[in-house]
């Protein structure tokens, strides 16, 4: 039987991305029709439905094999500028899941605030950009989609206009982001200078014969890596991350640290695997996998060490997010010409999916705590479990999963990642990762300890239960748990998608 989606016109392959963009426009339209009334339910509903529809379509495509090796390989649009394959669909699924949870949770978070429609449409526009990042087949689309994801994010971080923290976070995010995008653009221009093309496939075939321009290509590649490091919050472009995640509204922190990071990795995976094949560039002296290995080690060490001494839970999570970027970087670092590259990268993709659930859940729990106005430090969390046991149980799941303890999704994904790194011969990366994981258990368990073991320092006045936030946190918790049994198919899909890149 011919699968249905093969009978559709090829442009429909980008339907998930289009759906995200359309939802954003619909939200703007709804707000334009009657800008003076707020309908939090309707707006949150549209955003959630739109992202769920995206998730459904992307998931269907992914399961049906659209653009994957089984059914004719990647679908190219606009002369290869857009590519739809397993990798892009996989990351669209990640982004759409996160957006759905964030939209659901924002219903309560935004209840008494203005500019709700703008909030949701900015989120969805950013999500469109992130989804597009995974499909970018040309450095031009890479840049445009990256900016499409970044610009709304800057505005979203500074969304709380009267909150100095939010504004400061937005400013820092924006300024570092502006510098980083300039660096990325300059890097792209240098690669173009060396190869004469922006299409990844053409770049790949031309970069090997750059001749005298090897230096230009090398500088360009390192600068492009820098641009992606910004998006993934990796050293040395991570400086915005702790502040942005701490100052931003918590749902936005969830969105940025999960979806935006995943999208950054999506584009990095594709650009480096397709555009700068190791076989061609390493003999020239451009060993980008070594570059990422250094970044991975530094990033995970810095993130975890800095997280260990934080007092503010949200900031701790922010640093832990930097640490997780380091783990995911292994997917770009533990590569070698002819090695089991697809498996490593696939494990990293699977980790990012699991991370999307557990980290979003953790930040949404913070959003709930902010909603309750409990406080921000570990001490403020003391004894919270006596008042909100279900939510605290979910948070415990997230913490232990982030730390990589069995029996949660984070355990298997981290295990798979380290295992594949060892299989690829990069045992030292896995060792550094394992040491850092052990350290991370320290600060994650501090949260659990505060919630369950410590006595409350004061009375909690939690007020009414925020339904949307609660539901989103529970969805994330269930997702984190379900990804343990479902991890097998997930990692297989990811690995076959990644292997297709190296083919």
């Amino acid at each position: 039987m011919t699968p249905l989606q093969t009978q559709l016109p090829t442009w429909t392959a980008v339907a998930p991305t289009l759906l995200l963009g359309l939802t954003a426009l619909v939200l703007l339209l709804v707000d334009s029709i009657d800008p003076d009334s707020t309908r939090p339910g309707a707006l949150a509903g549209i955003a959630t439905l739109g992202s769920l529809a995206t998730l459904a379509v992307a998931g269907w495509f992914l399961l049906a094999g659209t653009g994957q090796t089984g059914s004719g390989g990647a679908i190219e649009l606009y002369g290869g500028s857009l590519v739809v394959d397993g990798l892009s669909l996989f990351f669209t699924v990640v982004v759409a899941s996160v957006v759905a949870m964030v939209s659901l949770a924002s219903y309560d978070y935004l209840r008494d605030r203005t500019y709700q429609a703008e909030f949701y449409s900015l989120v969805l526009l950013a999500a469109t950009g992130m989804s597009l990042m995974g499909s970018s087949g040309s450095l031009a689309t890479v840049f445009i989609s990256l900016e499409l994801a970044s610009l709304p994010s800057y505005a979203l971080v500074a969304f709380l206009k009267d909150n100095r923290g939010s504004v400061e976070a937005g400013l820092k995010y924006f300024l570092v982001g502006a510098v980083s995008s300039a660096v990325l653009t300059f890097g792209i221009s240098l690669v173009y200078a060396a190869t004469g093309s922006l299409l990844l496939a053409d770049v790949a075939s031309a970069v090997g014969s750059a001749g005298d321009l090897v230096g230009i290509a090398g500088v360009g590649i390192v600068m492009i890596a820098g641009g992606f490091a910004f998006k993934t919050a990796s050293v040395p472009f991570h400086f915005w991350a702790p502040e942005a995640y701490e100052g931003a509204p918590a749902p936005i922190s969830a969105f940025l640290s999960s979806a935006s990071k995943a999208a950054g990795f999506a584009v990095a995976f594709r650009v480096f695997a397709v555009g700068f094949p190791l076989d061609a560039v390493v003999p020239m002296g451009i060993d980008w996998s070594l570059l990422f290995a250094i970044l991975a080690v530094v990033t995970m060490t810095l993130g975890n060490f800095a997280a260990a001494t934080q007092e503010n839970v949200k900031r701790m999570l922010a640093y832990s997010s930097v640490g997780h970027a380091g783990y995911a970087l292994i997917g770009l670092a533990a590569l070698s010409g002819g090695g089991p590259n697809g498996n490593v990268m696939g494990a990293s993709m699977a980790h990012l999916l699991v991370y999307g659930f557990m980290n979003t859940g953790a930040f949404l729990f913070i959003a709930m705590v902010e909603h309750w106005e409990v406080g921000r430090t570990f001490e403020d969390y003391n004894g919270l479990a006596t008042r909100a046991p279900a939510a605290c149980l979910a948070m415990t799941v997230f913490m232990f999963s982030l730390a990589g303890l069995p029996p949660f999704g984070g355990f298997l994904s981290k295990y798979a990642l380290f295992y594949e790194a060892i299989q690829g011969g990069f045992w030292w990366l896995a060792a550094v990762g394992a040491i850092n994981s052990a350290l991370s258990l320290f600060y994650y368990s501090r949260v659990v300890k505060a919630m369950w073991i410590e006595d409350p320092t004061g009375e909690f006045d939690l007020g009414a239960t925020p339904v949307g936030l609660y539901a989103a946190v529970m969805v994330a918790a269930v997702g984190t748990l379900l990804l343990l049994p479902a991890f097998g198919p997930v990692v297989e899909t990811a690995q076959s998608a990644a292997t297709a890149l190296f083919a």
Partner: protein, 674 residues
Amino acid sequence: MVGAFDYAPAIVLLPFLSFLVALAGGKYLPKGGAFGGIAATAGSLVLSAWVFLTVSAGNAYNETLYTWVAGAGEETTRLTFGLLLDPLAAMMLLIVSLVALLVHVFSLGYMNDEGETGLPRYYAGLGLFTASMLGFVVADNLLMAFMFFELVGLCSYLLIGFWFRDSGPPSAAKKAFLVTRFGDYFFLVGVVAVFATFGTAKFAGEGAFPVIAEEALAGSAAEVTTFGFAPETWFTILGLLILGGVIGKSAQFPLHTWLPDAMEGPTPVSALIHAATMVAAGVYLVARMYGFYALSPTALGIIALVGGFTALFAATMGVVKREIKQVLAYSTISQYGYMMLGLGAGGYVAASFHLLTHAFFKALLFLGAGAVIIAMHHDEDMWNMGGLKERMPVTYYTFLSGSLALAGIVPFAGFWSKDEVLYEALVHGLGGSPLLLAGYAMGLVAVFFTGFYTFRMVFLTFHGEPRTEVARDPHGVRWNVKGPLVVLGILAATIGFVNMVPVQDLTGIHLEFLHDWLAHGELSALTAEHYGELLHDYAHYTSADVASYVAGAVSLALALAGAGLAHVLYNVPEPTEHTAKLGAVKDLWYNNYYQDEYQIWIATSVVLPLSRLADKFDQGVVDGVVNGVSSVSLFAGSRIRRIQTGVVSNYAALLTLGLTALLVVFGVLGGWFV
């Protein structure tokens, strides 16, 4: 056809089931769940007997039942559970399940009839203890053995500390746990090292680690990782690491200090610990992997010396003790010293034999002591007893049987086995291993002391005039105490007949059944025959020609001398303490050579200052590493986060610096601008 081996897992599972039953429903069951335990151990005993018969028909079983960690690929290490049933294991199964059964029955009298509380906890502990030991016995690889070894340790902790509301038992339990755990650290390192070296930890079969080790020494192409050592050296190191666990568990010098304290536990538990489970585990482990130890003469020598020394050392301390159970405790240490001596001296069969006989007579002695303690209303001081012979004849005669066996008086069980251990040490010692002669000498002297303290105990307890009111009118004991005593009394008297080497030598009648039993088998790498070859080829043990009955006569004479001395001194109506005549030695012995004191002294005077010294650099010796790492991490973290100054211009600067550094490093490395 379904044979005994298919039911073998049930041997372990039945007591475990009784543990679960007692734990879950003990409160609602009559006798606190005792009958469940009795039924389960009886079932295990029946199955063990069946396995025993099947094994004696020349079969063996060595199967992996469950793989719980399997690395991908063909050549990776697998962590498995499996069963290994060979003659040694079958024999041990029989011992353990029989003793456990009798202990359960005895507990009815010792615990239930005395109205103890917390019985479900007690029977649950016994069930788990039995199950762990049985699991340890049938383990087919070192890791599984280690896990059950630890479980055994845990159960002993729970049971020794059964009366946790008193002050003594919990601290004794803690001491037992910590001291054995100290040894187990070495064991654990050894297990990991074995995995790292051989990639497997199986005891027997194709690709078992003793086999690989043998091949490696023989120079055939077996792949082992020896971390830069010569294979001989490395195998010795491995053996000694594992020996660390053995010394802790089998209470050998210098880790024996926990065992006398463990007397704080209920007496049936002491019987179980000393006769069949915990302490036996150590010796059994050495016997189990004897094919590995036989490759290393150094390890064997150390085992023999430690064993001989412990035998003598503990026997001397037993001479002055006042409490009946203390005497027995030191006798246990001493007797396990003999077993180690036997193993070290190349007497695999002799040591196994002694393990067998000791299990029965020591269980007997403990249960007998338990009966006495019931009678004396839980007074354990022998100086408060006396004259119990007339008032509790069953206990007396069975106890006497056990004592004769312990002292090594012909023809009781202990004579045959102890004699054979000493004989092996003598012949191999004379055959060119002078180290073993030292062991032999110590063992021989210990025989004298053994005879003395055993009969001192017997005379003080049962003979003479009652010295207290309680001893004049002791509490009666019921069938559930007498039954096990009788069974064990008969066994203690007769079990030695399975292996009467001196008699065989004298008369020429074939009487060494245990030799035959252990010498052959389907798993040829696990037989005494094969061990003999290994000892000869690798440890270079040769036997001198000494008639076994001569050696036997010497040790018998010494034992009789000891017993006679005890008779002269203590078998009088009103015995007095002669220990004062020993002078300073008495204090020395009474205080166990100041073992605890010197270990505490070491802890306080040597380790503590050292720790304090180390503390200046770090936080302590063991914990300090952990704390140190974490505080260094936290310190590093508090420094690292200072990079995040909060000023965005600094971020831009650092970002630029980072990028520039990367560009420069990779530009230079890659030679981009050359």
